[in-house]
Amino acid sequence: MLVLVALLFLAVFGWIVATQGPLAPVKVTVAKAAESRLERSLFGIATVEARRSHAIGPTLAGRVGSVLVDQGDRVRTGQLLAEMEPVDLDARLAAGAASAAAAAQRVQSAEAALVEAQSRAKLAGNSAERFADLRKKNFVSQEAADAKAHEAAAAQAAREAAAATLAAAKEDVRRAQSELAGTGKNRAHLRLLSPVDGIVTARQSEPGSTVVAGQAVVQVIDPTSLWLRVRIDQGRSSGLAVGLPAGIALRSHPGEIFKGRLERVDLLGDAVTEERIANVVFENPPTGLAIGELAEVTLRLPPVERALTVPAAALARQGAAQGVWRIGPEGRAHFRNVVAGAASMDGLLEIRQGLTAGDSVIVHSARMLASETRVKVVESLK
């Protein structure tokens, strides 16, 4: 009886020591390396952005007079969106018009003066010819003839002066008109027009506020140009190329995947966050898409058709070496160096070197493995 109890005790004790604690073999699961198709993909976080966004503002500093549109309004090309206050521009326009008119008047008076001078010159010329004739026949004195000749020359000069005055007056008209046109252009610039058919996304200044040159009053985007700006970690960006098919998960549409395509890869990466930037367009953009919305983009790379793969969890590390744990004789773990390649999203890892098809490797283990650790293969770790 006592012996039986003692044996039972020892059996339970032995069982506890053997199955728990550091003396027990480590439970592991194994898998075989096999050739399979490796679906590769890239993953990035994206925000919805407008490809072209127009910040419409004045070219000169000034005060906003009126803003005619509000956020969400549809606008057409050339539509008046806002107007700056003209300050003195209207007065200057009136002054310009008046001086143009005055210049035109001066042209008329110069024309009249020219007609008069021409008539005078003609009269003086005729009279001088007549006196020259009479002088030949000695009817008048030389002095009288000279006086007439001089009068004719003076009248001729007066006619030329009048012609020049007219030309100057005409130039003056052109100058006044140009000035008027310039002032008009300035005035027209105060009218802020939409350069595209689009939607107003922001009304950034209200009437009465002062804006500097270049500051936006109204922001307009082209809604057909919405796309995604994707940030992809540099370390996982190899294979990024225009045309890759994309799956887009929008935060506002949980559980739905939209189809898209990689449209552009920026040559400039983000050096601070160590990310590449790419743009993805929707095949069929969903309605109600909001700019700035968060999205997850999965880009599908061309698959590796035949690759030797093991579950990615099998990849381990010992010191600086990368490899997998295998089960040696007597059920002890030993480390095998491997060269790993790409990993797929479903958890397969390509092995480039170090294993052959059919080799079994340890995938999961209940504890950290070391060389010569005793292991026990189980179907699943509890």
């Binding site: 009886m1 006592l2 004790f13 990849l315 590390r317 600086a320 790993a340 958890g347 283990s365």
Partner: protein, 400 residues
């Protein structure tokens, strides 16, 4: 010659056995307490081992990243990677948060690790289920203790994460299970506030005339964008080349990078000697008292067991049994009680150990030491009983 001790035990084996079991449960409690203490030390140890680092580079003058907060820019690794002897670096962010899971609050440590290729410093060295993190964002590996299942979606602050792998014994120095997430997500969890805080912060910045000056368009936006950036990590984990000297590399980093670097030995000192020192001493104190109480009870049991047999011992003396025979009987019984007590204790500690919320580590050397101590205590305790037995008057067998 017949063995008097076993004869006597067989005579009243039920009483003897139950006394042994009772004693065993007490020894079990003592062993468990030792296991709790070892578990605490081991929590600190696995935190160091699992990170896979040889050096921890932290903010200058702090005991980071586990014992004190430390915050450094996430691009300092570039300078460190160039130092001779450094094989690999990895940014890591640690943050302990309270998480709602299955209707109750659990305390977990969020660990941000670099995931651009498997096996970066800080990543869990082994998995029990699933696969490593293969996607740059929103995937997580959880310690089994956190109670998460494979494929589960958990919400941590602003985003939902999918549990793609499970691991075991990945705990913080205070025993909280870890959840590993990609570094960029961990930075967001740590530094990006909730929506209300963001909106309030924006309003606060907008109200500050230094950031919102008329005539400087874009200044406010720039200030707000720079405030929302999360460009810090808690530590850079450094793996050394095989022939590099940890102290030399740590010295280089401290001298030229104006940061503090800890070697494995220093980190063990920080975690085990400094961080858990008080609570470990608390447990140690309790362990000592428990051991004294156990010893006293063992002595008391054996003494009363002997006194209960006054008449039998007197008869033995009367029939001329030698003192040695009587002393041997009592000693053997005491040692037998000790063996039963130890076995029951070790079994019970092994059985209820895993049910503890924190890790209980029962080391074989503790068990062996415990066995030796139990046996010594039993032998010492039997001395009192032997002394009492030897002084019994044989006349008591007849009179009384």
């Amino acid at each position: 010659m017949i063995n008097l001790a076993s004869r006597d035990i067989l005579h009243g084996w039920g009483k003897f056995l139950f006394t042994g079991i009772g004693l065993g449960l007490l020894i079990g409690a003592t062993l468990t307490m030792a296991g709790v203490f070892r578990g605490m030390v081991d929590d600190g140890q696995v935190l160091i081992d699992n990170s896979g680092a040889d050096l921890w580079v932290v903010q200058q003058g702090t005991l980071g990243p586990y014992a004190e907060p430390s915050s450094i820019r996430d691009d300092v690794w570039r300078g460190i990677a160039g130092i001779q002897g450094v094989a690999e670096t990895g940014n890591a962010a640690y943050l302990t948060i309270q998480m709602q899971h299955g209707g109750k609050d659990t305390r977990v440590m969020i660990v941000g690790i670099e995931v651009d290729r498997p096996g970066r410093p800080g990543a869990p060295p082994y998995l029990t289920f699933g696969r490593p993190i293969l996607q740059g964002h929103y995937e997580a590996i959880a310690d089994e203790k956190s109670g998460h299942k494979l494929g589960e979606r958990v919400r941590i602050r602003r985003h939902d994460y999918t549990i793609v792998g499970l691991t075991r014994r990945m705990v913080s120095s205070s025993g909280d299970p870890m959840i590993f997430v990609p570094l960029k997500d961990a930075q967001e969890i740590q530094f990006l506030k909730d929506n209300d805080a963001l909106v309030n912060e924006r309003a606060r910045t907008a109200a500050n005339p230094a950031f919102n000056r008329p005539g400087v368009p874009g200044l406010l936006e720039a200030a707000q964008a720079s405030a929302a950036q999360a460009r810090n990590v808690n530590t850079v984990l450094v793996r050394l080349a095989p022939d590099a000297n940890a102290d030399t590399v740590a010295g280089e980093i401290q001298r030229w990078k104006r940061l503090t670097a800890y070697t494995k030995a220093q980190m063990e000192d920080i975690l085990i000697a400094k961080l858990i020192a008080t609570s470990a001493r608390q447990i140690g104190m309790f362990l000592v008292i428990l051991a004294i109480v156990t010893a006293a009870i063992v002595a008391f049991i054996i003494y009363t067991m002997t006194l209960a047999k006054v008449r039998e011992i007197a008869v033995l003396k009367l029939i001329g049994a030698q003192n040695r025979t009587i002393a041997g009987m009592i000693l053997q019984q005491a040692l037998g009680l000790g063996v039963i007590g130890f076995l029951v204790g070790r079994i019970s500690a092994g059985l209820w150990g895993p049910a503890f919320p924190k890790y209980v580590l029962l080391l074989p050397q503790d068990a062996i030491g415990g066995f030796a101590i139990v046996m010594t205590i039993c032998a010492l305790a039997s001395l009192f009983a032997i002394r009492a037995a030897l002084s019994i008057d044989p006349a008591e067998a007849i009179g009384g």
